[in-house]
């Protein structure tokens, strides 16, 4: 698939590294997920996060910079992103895409409108170009016939793919996927993994974070694995604690 040039792509800031420094994380039910973690994630690598189901999601949400209950520092290219206002962080945020369970698709918009929203809102392409691009993605993942339905009227895998496509369509450099293949069949899972793998290998996606219980297809790229256990982030490849 040939991706069009986005109008304001040059306004985005490249993310070379994300570093956790003295990082702590508390879940919404006020349970401690991580405490005093030191870990650097570099551009050009893929990272798989494992651990109790909710814990992975909490860490991925924090890496997408939308988690409120964090402490310590999260450095983006050596600058503490937690000190930034929403507007100040915007140039980096536009390079981060985050997909999670059913992706919070807006209920009052159709699947197609939901997918088009980030491009439309940020005026990245002409409306006709956005339409064409969204339809190409919908055909790639074989959900074109659902395009005009609202999320509540579609099966789970369509909502799942809707939020995945919405994150891919903005051409991010950092891709965060929380259980991306959950509720997808084998064929669509492989389409997704192959697409992301191609983009990762051609360098357009530079950093991937993901959590999955279905490892099979994800072996197409070499990921560094981390496990969250008893408040620690443990590097499984090295066996080291991220402290």
């Amino acid at each position: 698939m040939n991706l069009p040039n986005l109008r304001y792509r040059e306004r985005r800031k490249e993310i070379k590294s994300i570093e956790l420094k003295g990082f702590g994380l508390t879940s919404l039910n006020n349970e401690e997920v991580l405490k005093n973690v030191f870990q650097k994630f570099e551009s050009g690598c893929a990272y798989r996060i494992q651990g109790a189901l909710g814990d992975c999601s909490e860490l991925l949400k924090a890496l997408a910079f939308i988690h409120d209950q964090v402490e310590g520092e999260v450095l983006v290219n050596s600058q503490n992103a937690l000190d930034f206002s929403f507007e100040e962080f915007h140039p980096w945020r536009m390079n981060i895409a985050y997909t999670f369970d059913y992706g919070g698709l807006l209920n009052n918009r159709s699947i197609k409108e939901n997918i088009a929203l980030p491009l439309q809102y940020h005026d990245e392409l002409e409306l006709s170009e956005i339409d064409g691009l969204v339809e190409e993605y919908l055909k790639l993942f074989n959900i074109f016939e659902f395009k005009d339905l609202r999320p509540a009227m579609t099966p789970g895998f369509v909502r799942k793919l809707g939020c995945i496509i919405r994150s891919l369509i903005v051409q991010p450099e950092v891709l965060i996927m929380d259980g991306p293949t959950a509720s997808l069949d084998k064929e669509r899972s492989e389409t997704l993994v192959n697409y992301v793998s191609d983009k990762f290998h051609d360098g357009s996606i530079k950093m991937i974070f993901y959590s999955t219980s279905y490892e099979g297809s994800f072996k197409t790229w070499e990921a560094e694995s981390f496990e969250i256990s008893s408040g620690n982030l443990i590097g499984l490849n090295t066996g080291e604690l991220a402290v």
């Binding site: 929403f86 507007e87 915007h90 945020r93 992706g103 919070g104 807006l106 209920n107 809102y121 940020h122």
Partner: protein, 275 residues
């Protein structure tokens, strides 16, 4: 004994600090949403306009029947009551002043605000609460769309415009509808009645009208949006915050209206040299 008194004082203290905190957080949200809308270069007029117009349709247009009923009722009641009482005393020209004092200055802003709280405040609080539960707000943030400028600001704008228009509509219906309903009860000429009402209007009434209605609209939608945004993760929080939003909105609106009215008449007394 002492423990019970200190315990009671603790409860009062925490209620008071909670109320003060809520109040300032609501004001802060108002400031932040205006700031976010100003700084958000991506959010074009088209995006804001579509949400504002939808809000005006739901809050303003769809509330017209109930506002009409209330306005006709209150207008007719004021005309009937005042004309029958005044006729006994022989001062029918005071009917315009009664209409202005009771309906235009007090009833229209207050009843309009209460109707908007009941119809739209609840809808906004529960809609935003549901968006939080379904993580739509998280999704917006992750797409670089500030929820304050995308969700709160257009609703605030739409709400203020709707309340202003509804209050104006209320006044018109109360003045004209009230007259028509009571036409068989009295022999007052319409033009004479209209002249009495127009003569009773003072420049301060315009100030009072805009102050009460603009702030009422802002209070309702800020309080309801803030309560909706305060939902954390569970759908059973949604009705709870909706109820809280209604209670707080009514509390703030009534308090605000009493303060404005008191200041207005205090100013009158100062001008008359009484104080």
């Amino acid at each position: 004994m002492i423990a019970s008194i200190t315990g009671q004082m603790d409860r009062w203290g925490s209620k008071l600090t909670g109320t003060i905190q809520n109040f300032f957080e609501t004001i802060l949200m108002g400031y932040l949403c205006v700031r976010a809308a100003y700084h958000d270069r991506s959010q074009g007029i088209r995006t804001i306009y579509s949400v504002v117009s939808a809000q005006v349709y739901f809050t303003g247009w769809q509330a017209l029947p109930i506002i009409s009923t209330l306005a006709i009722g209150s207008g007719a009641a004021v005309i009937l009551q005042s004309s029958s009482q005044i006729n006994l005393l022989g001062g029918v020209e005071s009917i315009g002043t009664f209409m202005m004092v009771i309906v235009v200055r007090e009833l229209a802003p207050l009843l309009t605000a209460l109707i908007v709280v009941a119809r739209s405040g609840t809808a906004v609080a529960s809609e935003i609460g549901s968006m939080r539960v379904q993580r739509e707000v998280d999704a917006l943030e992750s797409m670089g769309i500030n929820p304050l400028s995308y969700i709160v600001f257009p609703r605030l704008m739409g709400g203020v415009i709707s309340v202003l228009c509804l209050a104006f509509y209320y006044i018109m219906i109360a003045i004209f509808g009230g007259y028509l309903i009571t036409i068989f009860h009295h022999q007052m000429d319409f033009y004479y009645y209209l002249t009495l009402v127009i003569d009773a209007v003072s420049p301060e009434d315009f100030f009072l009208f805009f102050t009460k209605n603009i702030f009422s609209g802002a209070i309702i939608f800020l309080v309801c949006c803030r309560q909706g945004m305060s939902v954390v993760c569970s759908s059973h929080e949604v009705p709870q915050v909706t109820t809280k939003a209604v209670f707080m909105s009514i509390k703030y609106i009534v308090g605000f209206h009493i303060c404005v009215t008191a200041l207005f008449y205090l100013n009158r007394l100062v001008k008359l040299g009484v104080l």
